[in-house]
Structures are given as C-alpha cells and as structure tokens.
Symmetry: C2
Subunit: 387 residues, 2 copies
C-alpha cells in the first residue's frame, strides 16, 4: 500500500445556517480545502462524502452525484458512505484506502449534514434511526436515553460525578471560543451545566452536543506526490475501524465502547505508535459521558479514571493529553456526517502549527475518534507530522 498524506483541509462555519443550502455548504468547505492545498480542482480524481441522512433531513439521497455536479467534478467518481455519526470518519478511511491502493491519486474526503431544515423533534427522530429500530428506537430509546444509561452505570461503577461530566462541557466550550468555525464561542461554567434542564438524567442540556449544519473537507494524495505540493506534510499513519452490536443491550459492558478499543488497537499498530505518543486527540463527545469513556477506551487513562483525568485538567490545552482542542462536538457543533472529517481538519491544523490560540505546542502526532450510534461503528485515525 502507498503512504497517504493530507494536502489540504477546509471547514464551513458550524451552526444553525438557515440561509445556507446543503449544496452551498459543500462548495464552501471544498473550495477552502482546494485553496489550502494550492492545487487546481481539475486534478481531483475521486471523492468520498460522509453523510448520515440527507434522505430524512432534506429529502435528498444520491448526494455524491449532486455534489459532483455542483462542484464541477463530473465525470469523477463520487461515493457517499454512511455509518450514522461516523459517516465522516468512514469517508476519510475510504479515501485513504483509494489512494493507498493506487487506483486514484488525489482524492477528496468530505462530510456534510444539513440538520436544521426540519423541526428539532424530527431531527431527534431522524437521529434515532441510527439505533436499532426494533430494539431501541420503537420503544422510545433515543440517543440521550441510551447514553444516559451508560453515564448512570459509569457513575455507579466508578464514582464518576455529574460535576466531572460538566467539566467536559466547560472545557470544550472554552476551546471553542478560540475556533472561529465553532457553533458556540461562549464560555460556560460547571454551575451552568448543573443548572441546565434535564434531558435524560443524569444528562442535562449542556451535557449534549447540539443540532448543527456544517461541512468539512480534506484532500489526500500519495505521500510522494504530497511532498511536491505541500511544505508541511501530514501523513495518515494509521486507520482503524471496528463494529459492535448496534443496540446496547447485547454488549458485555455499558461503561465503554469495545469498538473504540478495537479500532484504536488497529490504528496504533498500523501507525507503529503507542498511546503515549499521541500529542492531542479529537474524540466523539456527542455527550459529556462519551468523552470520558473515549479517553479511557483509547488508553489515555485506566477504565473508570476518565472523570478524574478531566477534573485534573489533563485533557485541557496545556494538559498531558489535550482532548477536543477544536471545541469538540459539544462546542464546535455536531453536523453528524461532517464530524469525522472536521476532526481530521482540526488535527491537521494542529500538526501544522496553524491552530492559533488553541495550538498545542510541539504537536507531532494526533488522533481522531468518530463514533456511529451508540458505538456500533467506531473509526480511529492517527495522523503524523511528516519530515
């Protein structure tokens, strides 16, 4: 397999973009990535796009064709991939495999979701189609409910506190203040979180990531070619993907996602790195408990100690393992199909030293962690600053 590098990245503003259409969002993110790469768009050989449910959100399937059309990419092969909220991470992985195989050279990995064209309750209903319809969604277990079960069990087994959960949200909102693309560039306090409305106990409104419109884009090339195009090469060192039961009741554990552990194991091995080599991570904090479980499952601390690690400030910028420097899903926003690619955008900017006030000093190796549903699909990537 050929070595693969990221040569350009781009993001739209994340938020409730009522005045921006689906197709325009994709062109914005794509245009920025092409400009960032400094290449002519005519050099693009293929595109993969992650999207969870344009069929339900904007009544449009076949979006890869729509994007190829509106981006002027015809007749380039364009393919949509979907795994709920892990759709973006999967699109990136497919793009990496396509370049690695040699079938294509310059390949776009994109992600997009337009979620605010429907009412909030319709969005919740659409998102619930990522859970097992017959065992979870039909009986009313939407995602806040499913993650609340995990949070409750985590608190019971390890003494994790609501305050520790709140600290995840506080940190990620703080980081988002330094990210011009973030949905919420506002500080919040632990009290704000603890006093916000209950959604599904113990999770409150400020424990939950928002409903967001947004698109993200990364452009990949074989490392040999990338060296000629960019000064700062960012290599894709490892890609890991794993599946698990789609519904929670069949799992051995409620306090972690086994698919995270498995996907990380694959990615670490392929990248030839250990967990201590990781300088920063963008993890899937769809709820505050998700970040706590993620940092444990990825190996940044022992199982059960994620709350404490957060409380000690170790996951803040300046801590031993900065997590969600972009603001994460909580602060930056969570346009579900775009999230996995947006995570890559953040890590690339960090490894290039272009993250401004949220820069992690001397970052050389970064990780992304993208979850579909309640952990039925997990994708982990390791990126490394090249020579």
């Amino acid at each position: 397999m050929r070595k693969v590098a990221v040569i350009g990245v781009g993001l739209t503003k994340f938020g409730e973009l009522w005045d921006v259409s689906f197709r325009r969002m994709m062109l914005e993110a794509g245009g920025r990535a092409i400009e960032d790469a400094g290449i002519d768009g005519g050099r693009i050989d293929a595109m993969y796009v992650g999207n969870m449910s344009a069929g339900q959100f904007i009544r449009q399937e076949h979006i890869a064709s729509l994007i190829a059309d509106h981006a002027g990419l015809i007749p380039v092969p364009c393919t949509r991939v979907e795994a709920a909220c892990a759709s973006g991470g999967l699109a990136f992985r497919q793009a990496v495999i396509a370049v690695a195989s040699g079938i294509h050279d310059i390949v776009v990995a994109a992600g997009i979701e337009k979620m605010t064209d429907v009412l909030a309750e319709q969005a919740t209903e659409a998102l619930a189609t990522a859970a097992d319809q017959e065992w979870e969604a039909y009986v009313g277990a939407t995602f806040p409910g499913v993650y609340a079960l995990m949070a409750r069990r985590h608190m019971y087994e390890f003494g994790t506190t609501e305050e520790q959960l709140a600290r995840v949200a506080v940190k990620n909102h703080h980081n988002a203040c330094f990210n011009p693309c973030a949905q919420y560039q506002t500080e919040i306090t632990v009290e704000d979180v603890l006093n916000s409305s209950p959604v599904c106990s113990p999770l409150r409104l400020l424990d939950c990531s928002p409903i967001t419109d947004g698109a993200a884009c990364a452009i990949l090339a074989p490392a040999d070619l990338a060296r000629k195009i960019t000064d700062t090469q960012i290599l894709v060192a490892g890609v890991g993907q794993a599946s698990d039961t789609i519904s929670l009741h069949d799992r051995q554990t409620l306090t972690g996602l086994p698919a995270t552990t498995k996907a990380a194991e694959i990615a670490y091995k392929m990248a030839e790195v250990g967990v201590r080599d990781i300088d920063l991570a963008e993890v899937h904090d769809c709820f505050t408990i998700s970040e706590i479980m993620a940092i444990e499952d990825l190996g940044f601390c022992k199982k059960g100690e994620g709350g404490k690690l957060t409380e000690q400030g170790e996951t803040a910028i300046g801590g031993s393992i900065p997590v969600n420097t972009s603001g994460g899903l909580k602060g930056k926003g969570h346009p579900v199909g775009a999230t996995g690619v947006a995570q890559v955008v953040e890590v690339v900017q960090q490894l290039r030293g272009e993250a401004g006030k949220r820069q992690v000093d001397g970052a050389e190796i970064g990780l992304t962690h993208n979850v579909g549903g309640s952990g039925g699909t997990v994708v982990v990537h390791v990126l490394r600053r090249g020579g």
Copy 2:
C-alpha cells in the same frame, strides 16, 4: 494493486417479501454466498453494503452496523455505500478496491433493499429523492417521467418504436422464467406491454421495473488466495465509475447516459478488453428505454440502433450479445440497493457455467452496468473466467 477474484455469490428470492425482514434477507443472501465460497464466515475481514434508503423505507440508518451485528461479523469493519440505484455496484467497487489495496483479504460486497414495507406511493416518493430535489422532484418529475422524456427523444431522433421498447420487456420476462430467484417468472407478449396502463407516455406499466424486496451478496479475495479456495476463479478484470449531472436538464444529450460511456471506457481499459470481447451483459433496465440506451452507450451497437438490435433478437440468449439473462431489473425485480450486486451474481454464475436453462454457451467475459438516478452515477464492471 493486487488482482481480485469473486469466490462466492448468493441471492435471496426477489419479490414482495412481506413475511421476510430486512435483517433476515441479508443473512439469507450472505449465508448462501458463504456456502457457495465454501469458507468459514470467521475468515471475513470486512464488508461493504449497498443500500439506497433504509432510512426512508424502514426508518433504519446505520445498516452496516445492524448487519455486522446480526450476521455475527463483529468487530469486522462494515461500511454502507449509497448512490441511489447504483449503491450495489458501488459497494462491489469499494470491496474490490479494499482487496486490491491489501488492507483486507476476504471482503463481502452486499446489496439490500426492503421496499414493500411502505405504500407504493411512498416508495415512489422515496425513489424520487435520488433525483435533484430542487430541479426535478419538487416539480413532480419522478423517475418514470424523467425516463419517459429520454424515451420520447430517442423515438424522435432515431425512430425507436414502442414495439421495440416492448421487446425489451418481453425478452427479460422470458429470461426470468428460467431464474428461480426472479420476481416475475411469467412470459408476456408485445401486445401485453402495448395494452398495459400508461405510466408516463410513452412508458407503460410493463415498460417499468417493479418495486422489490431482495438482497445479494458476493465474496471477494485476492486472486492468489482465491486459487486455493475455488476451482473456477472469476476475476474482476475492470471496474469503472463515473458521475454526471444529477438532473437531466443540464445534459448535452437526452438519448444516452454519458456516464455509462465513461465508466465503460475505464472498465474496458483496465480489463484490457474491447466491447467485442464481452460475451454477456447485465444492464440497468429500470425502464425498457434504459436497456436500449445502455446497449448503445456500452458500444454493443451504434447510437440509435438499440431498438433494432433488440428487435433482431441479438440481445436474447443465443443472440450475438445476450443482455439481462437473469431477467434484468424488469423480470428479476429491482430492489434498488441490491441490484448492482445481483448483476455480479448473475455474471459469475454464467461465467462458471452454472446458469442452467439461461446459460450462455462458452461465456468467458461478462459485464455489469448499474445506474444511479437518471445517470448521475454509473458503475461498470468487467468479470472474466480465470485459468
């Protein structure tokens, strides 16, 4: 890139399967493919599944995780790909790239659609989300309408007749009589077609493929490994994919699909074959006009002569280029996400000499042609009987 071979194939019965669930259909097709390959299911390294719109048809996204779960494939990476009715063809292409790249060895390419759990008008509405929402679907241009425009123009430019269109349906119903998995194992006559209800003039009910439940599965392996597993190797010689405008009004032509020509050009070149080397083809006859345009765009005859070629019987079994020996989408049925993989299943059975009463004598090289929407995505594969 490594050479790739198909080592096993399986299909469910196609039809209105009101008593069979989505998850059971996938297990049936997968189980048959594993049995056909004669391997242990534990050897599977990854899965790609084509599905257009389980989100709209059965309110379930994240189906790759659902299938991984119910098929006992956990923690194997499973990925859904979508390009409307070309979803199956794309899933097969992704599986080929994954094996070719070396990242995985034994990879499943599957396709599935469960369309009859909603009312027929809801199915039509769901299918219309494969067209451009803003330029086509919102103004009422569903797919019969879009293809009727193409048919009318083809008749105007080349003198193609309604009887020639009807002959496509008659042939494909005839072939389907010899396919135990086909939805319609019944002969029809030209008169039956011409006397059937108009759907969108000049297309009548019997010019249209039906709404179908079904699943299809193919198992791929590197050619070196395949040689140890199977006696009759079927090599994937060429894979081609191309995109075009999602809506019809932006095209240079209404009488063919430029993406078919482009995808075929890529596949022929990769396979190092010419059109005359093709012994049989499964093409995307979602409407009778589609088959006529396909055989022209693929190069089996000159543009405008598809009607005549059909009338002369050259596309029948025993003709110079048998087309849709399986019964095609018209006779076998068209579970949209499964169709591209089902085409591969037919070609593999033909190249192995296992197609029974519909066998094409001495078939060595076969082609599949799978279309998304009105031609916004086209995938063409060339398969070859190995030594």
